[in-house]
């Protein structure tokens, strides 16, 4: 990449970290941002390669705080190679690898391995998250200091809630010195044990065991009180219930150091999607029902919850969007709903799926981009997610008018578990630039014309 000089010209540049929203050129050299011009000059400086972005949105590359790469241990579902490709396809230039790998990222050895292979094989930046407890078993704290020294950006037993309140308290307390957030999957597994979707009318009609929203809300409330007690940083992943938002608001107002994320699916899909008709409610249950691609944890919630998380994201109560990209093999989803694995393949549909809310006027495109760039970068406390001079030249170019139909068979991800198959979306990411290099260009021959070589 030595000295590529690139001018991305004529696009609507949205960089919420700098309060920029104007038509301008973005100049890049040596893998760094040189400047965002005050207006588009209409010409490309000498020696610069040009990308014409007229009619398009130019955003900092997206930052994801919640990705399951499955590597090491479940490479048939995803690998660092395919997961970072999928990320680039979706406009992401930084992703955070959740530690529920095999072996678990609960030691420097495993974290170092993931970082080394990500640097060598990954198409974009991978930041590891360390486990809270050894083996994510919820018994003893993982060596959090050692993990922090290795470069983890936070701690999580994601998938496994820290059920033991005192262990959670100790993890929060211990993390204070490290300055890194505790990211606890909030779910009281005893409430609604055996549940496979959100409790409510849909679950009752389908005869599926339901998990009440309160299973999440109860643990969110506990964690917020423990964060208050310890004065630690708490980050709530995939928040999804009205009750959790009430607790979050109270905590934020009283000064608890807490941030929260919401997934694209909890912003756009309700439990009615389990009927298998893309959100339509059928008069009678048909054989398309029990759509296993809708099975996810936390489960898809009621429409009221969906509206509430949209509002909360809009007003900033929820800080960011994170994908919870959770690839699973076909055999994990071509089965009964009870047997199906939890998780949705999100990276490649993340932006476009939430862009539906822009199209319907429920959220501004600036807030959407902030939730994927400046927001997560602020939680990471890293020089990412902005087009500031000197920052890594990570850029996503979006065509707001470009419509596409989701076809998981064409995903770069190794897995196809998306409930959005066949759904038409707009706001497509057309180019992704990482450290000044084009890592994804939709219009090139072949999706990854350069990267795949």
């Amino acid at each position: 990449m030595a000295a590529r000089k690139l001018a991305i010209t004529g696009g609507r540049v949205i960089d919420p970290a700098q309060g920029i929203d104007r038509v301008a050129d973005v100049l890049i050299s040596n893998g760094k941002i040189d400047e965002v011009t005050s207006a588009s000059s209409g010409k490309t400086p000498d020696g610069y390669e040009q990308i014409d972005a007229s009619g398009k949105i130019v955003s900092p590359g997206f930052v994801d705080l919640h990705t399951h790469l499955r590597d090491p241990g479940q490479e048939w579902k995803e690998t660092i190679v395919t997961g970072t490709r999928a990320a680039a396809y979706g406009g992401f230039t930084t992703i955070s690898a959740m530690p529920n790998t095999d072996p678990v990222q609960d030691s420097a050895a495993v974290v170092d391995d993931v970082m080394r292979r990500s640097a060598a094989d990954g198409l974009i930046r991978v930041l590891p998250i360390g486990a809270i407890s050894i083996g994510q078993k919820g018994k003893r704290l993982a060596p959090m200091g050692e993990l922090a020294d290795s470069g983890v950006i936070g701690f999580s037993d994601d998938g496994n809630p820290v059920a033991d309140a005192n262990l959670m308290r100790q993890a929060l307390s211990y993390s204070v010195e490290l300055g890194l957030p505790i990211i606890n999957h909030a779910e009281d597994k005893k409430i609604g044990a055996g549940g496979v979707m959100s409790a409510g009318t849909v679950a009752t009609r389908l005869g599926l065991a339901g998990v009440p929203a309160e299973a999440e809300t109860a643990m969110v409330a506990r964690d917020l009180h423990l964060a208050d007690l310890t004065k630690a940083r708490l980050h709530i992943p995939h928040i999804s219930t009205v009750g959790s938002l009430v607790a979050l608001r109270t905590a934020k107002e009283s000064g608890v150091d807490v941030t929260a994320e919401v997934t694209p699916h909890h912003l756009t899909l309700s439990d009615e999607w389990v009927y298998g008709l893309k959100g339509e409610v059928p008069a009678t249950v048909g054989s398309e029902a029990y759509d296993t691609n809708t099975k996810v944890n936390p489960p898809l919630r009621s429409r009221a919850d969906v509206e509430a998380v949209i509002d909360a994201l809009n007003e900033g109560l929820i800080d960011i969007i994170a994908t919870d990209h959770a690839p699973h093999a076909a055999t994990d989803k071509v089965c009964t709903y009870n047997e199906a694995a939890h998780g949705i393949n999100v990276l490649e549909t993340a932006f476009s799926s939430v862009f539906q809310l822009v199209d319907t006027g429920k959220i501004s495109v600036v807030r959407l981009i902030e939730s994927l760039t400046a927001g997560p970068a602020a939680i990471l406390r890293k020089d990412l997610g902005s087009l500031k001079k000197g920052f890594s030249a990570d850029v996503a170019i979006i065509d707001p008018g470009s419509k596409w139909v989701v076809n998981p068979e064409q995903f770069e991800s190794k897995s196809v578990n998306s409930p959005l198959a066949g759904v038409e979306l707009a706001g497509r990411v057309v180019t992704t630039i990482y450290q000044g290099e084009t890592v994804f260009d939709l219009n090139a021959s072949g999706v990854f014309s350069e990267a795949k070589q």
Binding site: A199, G200, T201, G207, A209, S287, T336, Y337
Partner: protein, 360 residues
């Protein structure tokens, strides 16, 4: 489904066919049906047509020599992933009386116990060119999943906590035989609504026939979004269902009282203090039956826990139709199998094409 009346000629010498045909002949009021997954998509007319057919089947099943060639050459597989006596034997008997070859597969004695997936089990059976798959599975929706991966007719013989349509049909058949038109009749269902597929299917089935259904059970055994003392709205999918505050209110003036099996697991999982307390507060006994209308029917889908949800006195008393339910089960399942696998209906079509792809 080919109109069965056009297929009688297959073996005119045998009068069984005529009986069968007369049972299901008349106006064809509904579209052909390939599967029976639940009753929610059957109209009252379609249900009545099946029950009419079951009348003829009941007569056949009661004959000395009751073997008929109606489904000769058809292969029916019963695939039971849960233990069952009455339902499995009932289907097997129904198929055999109709002359079909019936093969019983149980999870414990099949490749399922070696870890074979449900998908591969179904594909394996499908490759043997079968006509019907009768499925009992502990997971709700399993027959729906299976129906996407086989060309055979799928009959739901009970899926998880979702549905048990042939149980409902036999219950409707039993009630219809005693009280005829069910419009406005009061049906009291007492028991574990949260986990009972029989309760759910029967609520839908009796409502469809115009009856008024009331349930009673501990508040821990109804969905959280339902409230005792209320009547459900249409958005719940069980619109009009009444949730009694107590069992006496449910049974009061009922024309049919149905007790459901209460399982030991409910006590173990903390839904109930004890089976003793359940029996005391929700058990159906002579005192509670006295609150129902004179001549009210007492039903139970079995297997019964006598002395828990139903007292022995009433279980075997004059109002009990429990054994009749079992007898009717065979006739109703004959009607279902005949309707789905009628002679002349090509049920093995497309075994080699890609209709049943993994994308379904």
């Amino acid at each position: 489904m080919t109109n069965p009346t056009t297929t009688v000629g297959n073996n005119p010498a045998d009068d069984s066919e005529a009986v069968i045909a007369s049972g299901v002949s008349g106006e064809t009021v509904v579209a052909p049906r390939h599967h029976l997954l639940d009753l929610d998509d059957l109209s009252a007319a379609e249900i009545n047509e099946l029950l009419d057919s079951a009348e003829g089947m009941l007569e056949i099943a009661g004959r000395d020599n009751r073997k008929t060639p109606a489904l000769r050459g058809k292969t029916i597989i019963t695939m039971f992933f849960e233990n069952s006596t009455r339902t499995r034997v009932s289907f097997e008997q129904a198929g055999k009386i109709l002359g079909a070859d019936v093969i019983n597969v149980t999870a414990s004695a099949s490749s399922v116990s070696k870890g074979e997936s449900l998908l591969n089990t179904v594909k394996t059976l499908q490759a043997m060119q079968i006509d019907a798959l009768v499925v009992r599975h502990p997971h709700s929706g399993a027959p729906y999943f299976i129906s996407n991966h086989t060309d055979a007719s799928v009959v739901n013989a009970g899926d998880g906590t979702h549905a048990h349509p042939t149980q409902s049909l036999l219950d409707l058949f039993t009630v219809r035989n005693h009280i005829g038109d069910m419009t406005g009749k009061k049906i009291a269902i007492v028991g574990d609504v949260l986990y009972s597929r029989v309760a759910r299917s029967n609520i839908l089935a009796f409502q469809k026939m115009g009856a008024e259904v009331t349930v009673s059970c501990p508040n821990t055994l109804i969905p959280d979004e339902w409230n005792l003392g209320s009547t459900l709205g249409d958005e719940t999918g069980f619109g009009g269902l009444k949730l009694a505050r107590n069992v006496d209110e449910a049974v009061d003036s009922a024309d049919v009282v149905m007790a459901l099996r209460i399982q030991q697991e409910r006590q173990d999982a903390g839904h109930l203090p004890s089976l003793r307390e359940y029996s005391d507060r929700w058990g159906i006994n002579a005192k509670r039956m006295a609150l129902a209308n004179d001549g009210a029917l007492l039903m139970h889908p079995g297997p019964m826990n006598e002395g828990v949800e139903i007292s022995s006195e009433v279980a075997h008393g004059g109002q009990s139709v429990v054994e009749e339910q079992v007898r009717n089960g065979v006739a109703v399942r004959m009607a279902v199998l005949y309707t789905l696998c009628a002679p002349g209906k090509s049920t093995r079509i497309g075994n080699n094409d890609s209709n049943s792809s993994d994308e379904a």
